[in-house]
């Protein structure tokens, strides 16, 4: 990022509305992240309709602030009530809650907030350097190579993100099929509309997101019933450790930040795995490993710097290639496209100011997270006392309005309700929901590139294998698919040997 682009980006951020919107989004993101059951994707999905009245930079700032702060917000209940607000903060409960029980909740929140900020800023710096390089590489990609890349990404996300790879793949396939509903842009043919004119425009991503993530959570809560015995919330405050103590953690922070950023770049791995791996690595490398699980600050720092480092890492392929690394960045990608911004090489080539703005906005979002987290830790502990049923009521009101205003169509509200009940049933059947969204968002580029590739090769798909880049991606896809089988085979061989 050149100095001119940096100044131009600061100019875009000089808009007081943009700063105010980001500040509000930081607070909202932290609250939604802190409420168990909701999470980053739900927060992004519910806020997306509000971005329609904003300018592109304002919308990007809002979504980035929500993205970053909701990941952090999940750590607050992890420390105060031993329940992670988001899965990404599961590892934070191991040492965060024991610290809080020992009367060190304020210290624990201080460690978490600063570690999250450092992890986030580290990954932002990597994003600044890596994304343009990756985008430059993507110039060599034609439709065949792009198709192969999407197949690789989609398969990896579906295969890796689920406990059961077959069900992950099922979810990805459902997403792609949903994306094909409506009038085909190339031929003008109606697809799966069943004579319903309203379906000709196809499904919109927002009602699907609202249904799958927000409304399905309401149904899940109804199915489980809400416990009337509230978990005791440990009174809190905010205290940052001395610089000397932070310096002693430098290796852990650096290791976790590198790990989180790297895992963020990889499709499908995500922040949950990053925080757990960061925690495990810190435990194995620490001289205080016996204190892990008993309230060791190093454990909190390891997991939180890793999960927040994923944010910048996951944006690398999203911005450079238009391929999201996880469900949250898939929503971000969908939002960018809605605002007329198409990620990829052209974005870096034609709109460098906007790219620089994204980098600067990510930095500002991380700094806001630090400030808001420090000032409002006490408030967030009160948010946790809100009855869950009332929170779910708010989700219903927001879902009904949010899905309607997308295209001012009741059909979209029906889609959200149906996606909600389908999401519930799929969750009961242990089918992950994130690959559905990613499949839906990648479905259109996958189809367009495949068909363009077929037209170029005169309907001979085997000619796709003449592209070395495509062969590389297809080989990687095969390795990913066959890896579970190979893994099962390898230990057996060792045992026999």
């Amino acid at each position: 990022m050149g100095i001119d682009a940096f100044i131009a980006a600061l100019g875009l951020l000089a808009d007081p509305w943009a700063i105010l919107i980001m500040l509000l989004a930081t607070v909202v993101g932290m609250i939604v992240g802190a409420l168990p059951g909701l999470g980053t994707v739900t927060a992004l999905a519910m806020i997306l309709p509000f971005t329609f009245v904003l300018t592109g930079p304002q919308a990007i700032g809002l979504l980035l602030a929500i993205y970053v702060s909701s990941v952090y917000g999940g750590s607050i209940p992890a420390i105060l009530i031993n329940v992670p607000g988001t899965p990404q903060s599961a590892a934070t409960t191991f040492d965060g809650y024991p610290m809080a029980k020992a009367g060190k909740a304020a210290e624990a929140l201080g460690w978490v907030t600063v570690a999250s900020t450092i992890g986030g800023i580290f990954s932002m710096i990597v994003l600044v350097f890596a994304a343009p390089q990756l985008a430059a590489l993507a110039v060599q990609f034609g439709s065949i190579e792009t198709f192969a890349l999407i197949v690789f990404s989609l398969t990896t996300i579906a295969w890796v993100s689920a406990g059961n790879p077959i069900k992950g793949l099922l979810a990805g396939v459902i997403g792609v099929i949903l994306s094909t509903v409506g009038v085909d842009e190339l031929s003008g043919a109606d697809r799966f509309t069943f004579g319903n004119f309203a379906l000709s425009a196809g499904f919109h991503v927002v009602p699907i997101l609202i249904g799958l993530f927000a409304l399905s959570e309401v149904f899940v809560t109804a199915g489980q019933g809400i416990s009337t015995t509230a978990k005791p919330i440990i009174s809190t405050g905010f205290k940052i450790a001395r610089f000397r103590d932070w310096w002693a953690m430098k290796r852990t922070i650096l290791r976790s930040s590198v790990l989180g950023t790297f895992l963020g770049v990889l499709p499908g791995v995500g922040a949950t795995a990053a925080s757990l791996i960061g925690y495990a690595q810190a435990k194995s490398a620490s001289p205080n490993s016996e204190n892990f699980g008993k309230g060791e600050p190093e454990g909190i720092v390891a997991s939180e710097s890793a999960n927040n480092a994923v944010t910048g890492g996951a944006l690398v392929p999203t911005l450079a290639l238009g391929i999201p690394g996880d469900a949250a960045t898939a929503v971000m990608l969908g939002a960018l496209v809605i605002h007329g911004i198409t990620p990829g090489f052209q974005l870096f080539n034609r709109n460098p100011d906007l790219v620089s703005f994204i980098f600067v906005a990510l930095l500002v979002a991380n700094i806001m997270m630090l400030i808001v987290g420090a000032m409002m830790a006490q408030v967030f502990s009160r948010v946790l006392k809100l009855p869950h049923a009332l929170v779910m009521g708010g989700v219903v009101a927001l879902s009904l309005a949010g899905s309607y205003v997308i295209r001012f169509s009741v059909l979209d509200v029906w889609v959200a309700v149906m996606a909600g009940i389908s999401g519930l049933l799929l969750r009961y059947a242990n089918v992950p929901l994130a690959p559905i969204v990613i499949g839906f968002i990648l479905g259109t580029p996958l189809e367009t590139n495949l068909r363009q590739g077929l037209i170029v090769t005169q309907m001979q798909p085997l000619k796709f294998l003449e592209s070395p880049i495509a062969v590389g991606f297809f080989t990687l896809t095969l390795i990913v698919v066959l890896w579970p089988l190979l893994k099962r085979y390898l230990p057996k061989r060792r045992t026999i040997d």
Partner: protein, 153 residues
């Protein structure tokens, strides 16, 4: 019957049925499309993925049948049914009655259905949240929601 019914057999059967229905529909609609020589057919990708869906569904179904004997977890299906019916009714009535009438009722019933028994707080929160959202979306963001007949709001 209880030996074969589990989430995997249900999921596999549903996936297989959906893929069959959509495949039939795609072949019917595809037959009516005129294609220029060298054009990629519009149903190519949907059909490819529907066959993949069918194959995955069969694998899940067979896995479920082989596993067998797994009971569906006990859930509060009544509460889920009430929640779903509330949203269906709210969606159906949103256009004729308006968001400001339907949404507070839907929120109130949802909260009650989730076990919150303080009716006064529930009513206040239901009306308050909806009014706040209405102000934000309609007055601030200029995004209209279905209006209440006769009132224009």
């Amino acid at each position: 019957m209880s030996r074969v019914v589990n989430t995997d057999t249900l999921l596999g059967a549903a996936g297989l049925a959906a893929s069959a229905v959509l495949l039939v529909s795609s072949y019917r609609q595809g037959a009516t499309v005129f294609l220029l020589p060298g054009d990629a057919p519009p149903f190519l990708v949907p059909q490819l993925f529907l066959y993949l869906l069918a194959a995955i569904s069969v694998a899940i179904l067979l896995g479920g049948l082989r596993r067998g004997g797994v009971r569906l977890d006990a859930r509060n299906w009544r509460a889920i049914g009430v929640g779903f019916a509330t949203l269906v009714a709210a969606t159906a009535l949103m256009k004729p009655l308006g968001y400001l009438v339907v949404a507070p009722v839907a929120v109130f019933v949802t909260v009650l259905n989730l076990g919150y028994r303080n009716l006064l707080v529930n009513a206040a929160v239901s009306v308050g949240i909806v009014a706040l959202l209405y102000l934000l979306l309609v007055s601030f963001a200029q995004m209209p929601l279905p209006t209440v007949p006769g009132l224009g709001i």
